[in-house]
């Protein structure tokens, strides 16, 4: 797993418009690797036709 640099970390927070304190940032840095592990667990070899679970519940108002 590649390590997140400080610049990338700051960039992602800025893109999200979030402004935590220095202490919060320091704590957050200790858990972002855990997020990457979660992401790895949902990444699978699956065909391009494997759609996400979405539901279109058309109602009278759609007609």
């Amino acid at each position: 797993m590649p390590e997140m640099t400080d610049a990338v970390f700051e960039y992602l927070l800025a893109c999200a418009g979030l402004d935590p304190t220095a202490a919060e940032k320091a704590e957050l840095k200790t858990v972002v690797a855990g997020l990457a592990e979660l992401a790895e667990r949902v990444r699978r070899r699956r065909g391009i036709m494997a759609e996400p679970a979405l539901v279109y519940d058309f109602t009278e108002e759609d007609l």
Binding site: A50, E51, P52
Partner: protein
């Protein structure tokens, strides 16, 4: 009947026979609130005047025409993320301290329509996330079995309130276990119904595609009575099911002889090994169901960690999206725990989120296949008895997989029921999972289990 606290079913029978006054019942609940809630903090707001007015109105109507159903005159609580017309709904957040909704949430409306008596708004984790938090406008709820211990969350006040008899039933919401967790640790019953069965309209979201609304009560039968009032299509909820609503009590009393129960041993024995007390409760529950005539089978699913990862990825992103505006403009008005979770949203890519949603479809298909030929599945609801309230890890999301999340991911109905008492006399529980919209079977099994075991005869001791 344990102590003087009836179940909803018992109270309904007594009210119908005019042996129990809804006003006396509401007063008894309010008296228990006054005696116990300074230590339990199950309520963020007690609506005493309104409760007594509703109880008097119920009593008058029942005396004139009989009850309109089993919930008429029954005291309940609503989690404080459920909108209530004219009554503060704060989501236990500094951000919404002055919020007074102009309309009831669908679930509040349906319970009021069934004649319930609202005792008050129950404590929640802030916006149904994080917790226990000690930096919110009001303190977290405490476990009636031992107030030094946690209730689990986020429907913590409803769990504590039902266990202590401050209310006979209440509303919880469940995004990854927020009904079943407090039900388990407080020793009561709580069901997360099939996704779409109960309208989410008017309830603050946690994660749109994982959120469920459901009842919590002392018994599975009481949950069935409440679900009967709650279930049904609501056009205000885009995920609301249009399926006809069956009778949720029709199969009660039929026992479990011949039913097939699958046990996901690897969830609680390998993937996340539960405490000795919890394991004893599970083993005894399997023996009880087998003794009642159920056929027990083994079920193999993907590791619990996969289910939890999928649900967590979806939950983190959907929550961050729902609360993005306040996170950008009022980040430090959130509690520390919710703030930390909202910040995680910045670090999950759109592709990662969509892979989780694709994974959900695969996992749901896996559960569908595994449940072919089965009526219900059994596993743990919580890994251990309740922790001390000041020893709950902040980042448990990354530290331990969650037994309840798989069925939010799949949308399948799941109920937590008490299966005994473990370390320190604290409750332990099992989780039973049904097929979509098969809540009647789930209640049938849970009710048979409760009636075959002595755990519904014991309530937490009130304070001296």
């Amino acid at each position: 009947m344990p102590g003087a606290i009836p179940t909803i079913a018992e109270a309904a029978r007594q009210i119908a026979a005019k042996q129990l006054s809804p006003v006396e019942l509401a007063r008894a609940c309010l008296d228990r609130v006054k005696a116990q809630d300074t230590r339990l903090h199950a309520f963020v707001l007690v609506t005493e005047e309104r409760a007594l007015a509703e109880a008097r109105a119920a009593e008058a109507a029942i005396m004139a025409n009989g009850p309109k159903g089993p919930l008429h005159g029954i005291p309940i609580g609503l989690k404080d993320i459920v909108d209530t017309k004219g009554i503060h709904t704060t989501c236990q957040s500094k951000i919404l301290q002055d919020n007074v909704p102009e309309a009831d949430a669908a679930c509040a409306e349906r319970l009021a329509g069934a004649g319930t008596v609202l005792i008050g708004k129950t404590t929640t984790h802030e916006f149904a996330d994080g917790g226990p938090s000690f930096d919110l406008p009001q303190p977290p709820a405490r476990n009636p079995w031992n107030p030094e211990h946690f209730t689990a969350g986020s429907s913590s006040g409803t769990g504590a309130g039902v266990a202590a008899g401050l209310i006979l039933g209440g509303i919880g919401t469940d995004t990854g276990g927020s009904i079943r967790g407090p039900a388990a640790l407080c020793g009561i019953a709580g069901i997360k119904p099939t996704y779409g069965l109960v309208s989410r309209a008017g309830v603050a979201p946690a994660a749109y595609t994982l959120d469920h609304i459901g009842p919590m009560a002392w018994t599975a039968e009481d949950c069935a009575l409440m679900l009967q009032a709650l279930a049904g299509h609501d056009r205000r909820d885009p995920a609301s099911s249009r399926r006809p609503v069956p009778s949720y009590t029709a199969l009660l009393g039929q026992g479990v002889k011949g039913l097939k129960v699958g046990v996901v041993h690897h969830f609680h024995e390998t993937d996340h090994k539960v405490s000795d007390g919890t394991q004893r409760g599970i083993d005894a529950a399997i023996a009880t169901l087998r003794g009642l005539g159920a056929e027990i089978r083994e079920v193999q699913l993907s590791p619990l960690q996969d289910w939890t990862a999928c649900g967590s990825m979806i939950s983190i992103v959907e929550r961050a999206a729902a609360y993005e505006e306040w996170a950008r403009t009022r980040l430090h008005d959130f509690s520390e725990r919710v703030r930390s979770r909202l910040l995680l949203g910045a670090f999950v890519s759109g592709v990662d989120y969509l892979q989780a949603v694709r994974r959900r479809r695969e996992l749901r298909a896996e559960l569908q296949t595994a449940m072919k030929g089965l009526d219900v599945v059994l596993t743990a609801s919580q890994p251990t008895e309740a922790s001390k309230i000041d020893e709950v890890p902040k980042w448990d999301l990354f530290q331990r997989p969650n037994f309840t999340m798989p069925f939010n991911v799949a949308g399948y109905p799941a109920i937590s029921v008490c299966s005994g008492f473990g370390a320190g006399g604290l409750p332990v529980s099992i989780q039973l999972v049904g097929k979509p919209f098969q809540e009647p079977t789930l209640f049938r099994v849970a009710d048979a289990f409760e009636k075959a075991t002595p755990f519904r005869d014991r309530r937490p001791a009130p304070p001296p």
